[in-house]
């Protein structure tokens, strides 16, 4: 039996692509290395009775188009969107909570600065306006620079017109902000250090960059394109991130997709010819008309494809595709809700239900990054925390909680020692920081799971441990992601496609790379190119 399409990796992008391809009538098989589907968007039992999103803990946010197209609500997707987006903590016990709504946010900011409170609405509006213009870029296939097709030009023209509609002021804002350091951007808007750092954090999330690195503002613009705000929300599916990939699995199966877990691919062969084959670890060979890799570009081309099939020049560029991971994850099972200094218990449940941000100053974030340049993890790390059990009681026994901590910076390559020997020291360092903000939290820890960048690579197959499958800097963006000339989900091998976060529009749980790739693949089938 031959499949039309074999997809490598049942992460959310692989599943989204599978759904779309199956719906367009193609017989689709998805192969997952682990024993459960979901890739970076999974929920696992951390301790009996405690379930937690293993890696990603907030949706990207998901594309509403995909939710609608794939009817995910019917397949069990239920989103939890806390009113609080992020609670920023300061070491002196003060805090600032940013909500979805502008009005209560202003009240919070006013505690720090009247100026900032009055700039906030315009800040929110500008990003929402600019976000609307950028949004169509997310779901389009980046145009070819060499030979733009009429379709490419039409798409670009539409974006161009929308850009025109912004007015001169916003047009220039957009042009200036793209390459700017996010620290500069936030200081143009706000004077409160805590607020600056909280907003800036989005620009360095998952990136080998500090807020002073040029180009980090791009992260904010991209975030705005996804949901109209520069500040990432805490939205997550019921049941944790696995709830999303579970709904996708249901949708995929309903569309006729076959999914095999514990099926680790060791090789892709013959993708330049007519009969591409994937070889599994056990030696089993699976033939298909097309192979689609949801693995990151480096893994795909440097590990799975025989180098003889690729031009040396392409391989060289692939080796130079930058994916230096800097993120570690710590998941905690807690016997109670931790008490954060300065957050009184009456408001705790609402304020703690969004993301919790530790990284009170721009300099703090920058210092955290500095360490990673020299192969050290941050002595004082930047933490992005979620307590999903506050909004979803199904995740922990009553009265108990799970806490998911995204830790930056934890460079994949340590200069001294390695991650196996230093994981404990690393975790301890994070606990010390948590304890400083939530005294007594250590006593609440029932179980902890530490996932180092090395684990991200070995267990989750992320090359270099990079959560976005590769840096999202200007040179690895849009028509340059993963490489200039290969940004249209196609590869130098005729029957091999990419559909993961290493393609446009990149990382985060959006599902868009998968959906975009599926569109191109289906088109090639239709045009009888494959």
């Amino acid at each position: 039996m031959t499949y039309d399409v074999t997809i490598i990796g049942a992460g959310h992008n692989g599943l989204v692509a599978a759904c779309y391809l199956a719906k367009s009538g193609l017989k689709t098989l998805v192969l997952e290395r682990r024993e459960l589907v979901g890739g970076g968007a999974v929920t696992e039992e951390l301790h009996p009775g405690f379930r937690c999103s293993t890696l990603d803990h907030a949706a990207g946010p998901l594309s509403s188009q995909i939710i609608e197209d794939l009817n995910l609500a019917r397949h069990g997707l239920e989103m939890i969107t806390p009113e609080a987006r992020v609670l920023a903590l300061s070491p002196d016990g003060s805090h600032c909570c940013i909500y979805n709504n502008v009005a209560p946010t202003i009240n919070e900011i006013e505690k720090f600065s009247a100026n900032d409170a009055s700039s906030y609405p315009e800040f929110a509006n500008s990003f929402s306006r600019i976000g609307r213009v950028l949004a169509p870029l997310l779901s389009m296939t980046p145009p070819s620079i060499d030979q733009p097709t009429p379709g490419d030009l039409w798409q670009l023209g539409k974006v161009g017109l929308a850009f025109r509609g912004l007015g001169k002021k916003d047009e220039y804002r957009l042009l200036r902000w793209g390459p700017m350091a996010v620290a500069d951007l936030v200081s143009e808007w706000f004077e409160t250090e805590l607020l600056r750092a909280t907003v800036a954090a989005r620009g360095i999330h998952g990136a080998f960059a500090g807020p002073w690195s040029a180009g980090t503002s791009l992260g904010l613009l991209w975030q705005a394109a996804m949901d109209g705000s520069a500040i990432a929300p805490a939205a997550y599916p019921k049941g944790g991130m696995g709830g999303f990939t579970q709904a996708l699995t249901n949708a995929a199966k309903a569309a006729g997709v076959e999914i095999r877990t514990s099926a680790s691919v060791s090789q892709i062969s013959g993708a330049d010819g007519d009969k591409p084959t994937v070889v599994l670890d056990g030696g089993e060979e699976i033939e298909a008309r097309v192979v689609v890799s949801n693995a990151d570009p480096r893994t795909t081309f440097l590990n799975l494809v025989d180098p003889i099939d690729l031009e040396p020049n392409f391989l060289l560029k692939m080796r130079n595709f930058r994916a230096p991971g800097v993120v570690a994850k710590i998941n905690l099972a807690l016997s109670g809700l931790p008490a954060f200094s300065g957050v009184n218990s009456s408001e705790a449940t609402s304020k703690l239900s969004g993301r919790i941000h530790i990284g009170p100053e721009i300099d703090y974030l920058e210092r955290a990054f500095d360490a990673s340049k020299y192969g050290e993890f941050s002595p004082e790390p930047y933490l992005d925390i979620n307590i999903p059990s506050l909004g979803d009681a199904s995740l922990a026994p009553s009265g108990k909680h799970v806490m998911s901590v995204h830790v930056q910076f934890a460079p994949y390559k340590l200069r001294e020692g390695d991650w196996t020997t230093r994981a404990e020291e690393f975790a301890n360092n994070v606990f010390v920081k948590l304890e400083a903000y939530a005294p007594g939290i250590r006593d609440l820890i029932v179980a902890a799971k530490v996932i180092t960048p090395l684990d991200l690579e070995q267990e989750f197959g992320l090359s270099g441990g990079h959560i976005h499958h590769g840096e999202q800097t200007l040179d690895q963006f849009f028509t340059f992601r993963p490489l200039i000339g290969w940004a249209q989900y196609r590869t130098p091998l005729k029957r091999l496609y990419l559909c993961g976060a290493g393609t446009h529009p990149g990382g985060g749980v959006t599902g868009l790379p998968g959906a975009n790739a599926a569109r191109e693949i289906a088109r090639d089938f239709k045009d009888r190119k494959i």
């Binding site: 002021k169 047009e171 040029a214 200039i484």
Partner: protein, 525 residues
């Protein structure tokens, strides 16, 4: 005095002079006003200590546009460029890296460190030259306004787009990387030798508040391949008689074209009538009227000091305040009794005739930057030294030498103390750093001049001590320099133009801003 000029140019730096020369050649009656007693602005030679002549600020030349040299006939006006051959980087382990213009020798030298790098060096050079050819015409164009609806302006943008489209895939890839990546990331793809990457990447950070790992620093690597002296690609040099000789040659050419130049003529205000510039008022009260005022000083001085916020649109003021200066470098000029003796390559020799770069490793460079980010000058800074007296004996007494040390990082805003308090401590740090590589330096120093960013601001009119009149980062380049919508050398004040390094294509002794502005101005009026 109230004689009427067509154009009065504020500032007798190299851009102001180039601007004036081009305007006068087109038949305009032009007056240049310089605050100091010498011409040249930051491109100036001064006898700081008796017998020792220093290129006080800017110290090497490479980017001076060949069309300017040609059109203003600068060699006839006394410009002579002497070659500055090579870059010598001493290393703490007793080794060194010494690159020279002779490609074959450099390849052998690099092969001592890495054979792979020696091979890559040739390829790298070829790729860079391709890129430099692509970028070159952009230097001499007026940046288009991408938000305009005027189809004529779009012609320029389309021109750039098509040029890019026509590049080979390989060159496109390189070009995108160069425009956006950090120097170290870019070089990592080509080379493995740390000291080589450190020294090459140093050119990417000069004058900016960025580190070698900061995105956006790769672009300046290109400049090394754009330096054209008498048509020879990729060579750097000294002007005989110091950098001031360049300004003097341009000044001579300007005078010959009929420009009137007045020194010690500081300007208090730009005169406005009905929102138009009609001339300037000197600090002594003299009013000078002109049809057009062309300012080569930076936007802060031009607009905030000489015009005043109340006469300017709000948005423009906001943009000017956001324009980043953030000086990050200082200068130490040393009068020496003899030549420094480097531990890693003892004795006098040709290695002292080129640039001597204290940039032993990428981490060294990056740590120097880290300190500056938090408001301290680097305890072990990057230093780029030259000893011009070896090539041009006229600048020092016989047997003696002048040594010019460009130092980074020295942030304008110190977290603790002031630059007036820290000046000598900074000077000591620089000398100590050199002494780690050339221990005899301390005994050789007769006199030293330490220029902090504050001194650059006070003495040379460079706001916050930025040697480029504003950072050369992507968001401040091309159609965003110095302010969105005002990159065509015009300003919101009618008949007021900008022609300094704060306009496209930016700083360095290029002269291009002055020339571009003059051509634009002539087209407009």
């Amino acid at each position: 005095m109230n004689s009427k000029y067509d154009v009065v140019v504020i500032g007798g730096g190299h851009n102001g002079l180039v601007n004036a020369a081009y305007l006068a050649r087109a038949g305009k009656k032009v007056l240049v006003l310089e605050r100091r007693h010498v011409l040249g602005g930051a491109a100036v030679t001064e006898e700081i200590f008796p017998g020792f002549k220093f290129s006080v600020c800017s110290y090497v030349v490479s980017l001076l546009r060949p069309e300017i040299i040609r059109e203003l006939d600068l060699p006839r006006h006394g410009l002579e460029i002497l070659p500055l051959d090579g870059t010598f980087t001493p290393m703490p382990n007793g080794d060194y890296l010494w690159r020279v213009n002779d490609h074959a020798r450099t390849r052998r030298e690099i092969a001592r460190h890495s054979r792979l790098d020696a091979e890559a060096y040739d390829e790298y050079g070829k790729a860079m030259i391709e890129m430099a050819h692509f970028v070159k015409p952009i230097m001499s164009m007026t940046p288009p306004d991408p938000t305009t609806l005027d189809p004529k302006a779009w012609k320029n943008l389309a021109f750039l787009g098509r040029r890019f489209q026509k590049l080979s895939d390989e060159d496109k890839y390189n070009q995108v990387q160069l425009m956006t990546m950090s120097a170290v990331d870019f070089l990592d793809q080509w080379f493995e030798t740390d000291v080589l990457k450190a020294t090459m990447s140093a050119s990417g950070i000069i004058g900016t508040f960025l580190g070698v790992r900061s995105p956006g620093t790769a672009y300046v690597l290109l400049h090394h391949y754009m330096g054209e002296i008498d048509g020879a690609f990729r060579s750097w040099g000294f002007a005989r008689g110091g950098t001031g000789a360049i300004s003097n040659a341009i000044g001579d050419a300007a005078r010959e074209a009929g420009v009137e130049i007045r020194t010690e003529a500081p300007i208090a205000k730009i005169l406005l009538r009905n929102g138009r510039a009609i001339g300037v008022v000197l600090e002594n009260g003299d009013e000078i009227h002109a049809e057009v005022v062309s300012s080569s000083v930076d936007p802060r001085l031009t607009f905030m000091k000489m015009i005043g916020e109340e006469h300017l649109p709000d948005d423009f003021c906001t943009d000017l305040k956001r324009y980043k200066y953030r000086g990050s470098s200082g200068k130490v000029n040393l009068a020496l009794d003899g030549l420094p003796d480097f531990k890693s390559l003892p004795g006098p020799g040709a290695h002292l005739r080129g640039a001597i770069s204290i940039s032993p490793s990428v981490d060294y460079m990056e740590r120097a930057y880290d300190e500056a980010k938090y408001g301290r000058f680097s305890r072990r800074p990057y230093i780029d030294m030259v000893i011009p007296s070896l090539t041009d004996p006229s600048v020092a007494p016989p047997g003696k030498h002048v040594m010019s040390c460009f130092v980074q990082y020295a942030p304008y805003n110190l977290k603790e103390g002031t630059w007036d308090e820290k000046r000598e401590e900074f000077g000591d740090t620089v000398v100590d750093t050199i002494a780690e590589h050339a221990p005899n330096i301390k005994e050789l120093i007769r006199d030293r001049q330490v220029l902090t960013p504050l001194d650059l601001e006070r003495d040379f009119g460079l706001s916050e001590g930025n040697i480029f009149q504003g950072e050369l980062t992507l968001e401040q380049l091309f159609f965003l320099r110095p302010a969105p919508g005002w990159a065509q050398y015009r300003t919101p004040i009618k008949n007021l133009y900008m022609c300094g390094s704060a306009t496209h294509p930016g700083g360095g002794i290029m002269g291009a801003p002055g020339r571009n502005a003059a051509l634009q101005l002539l087209k407009d009026i």
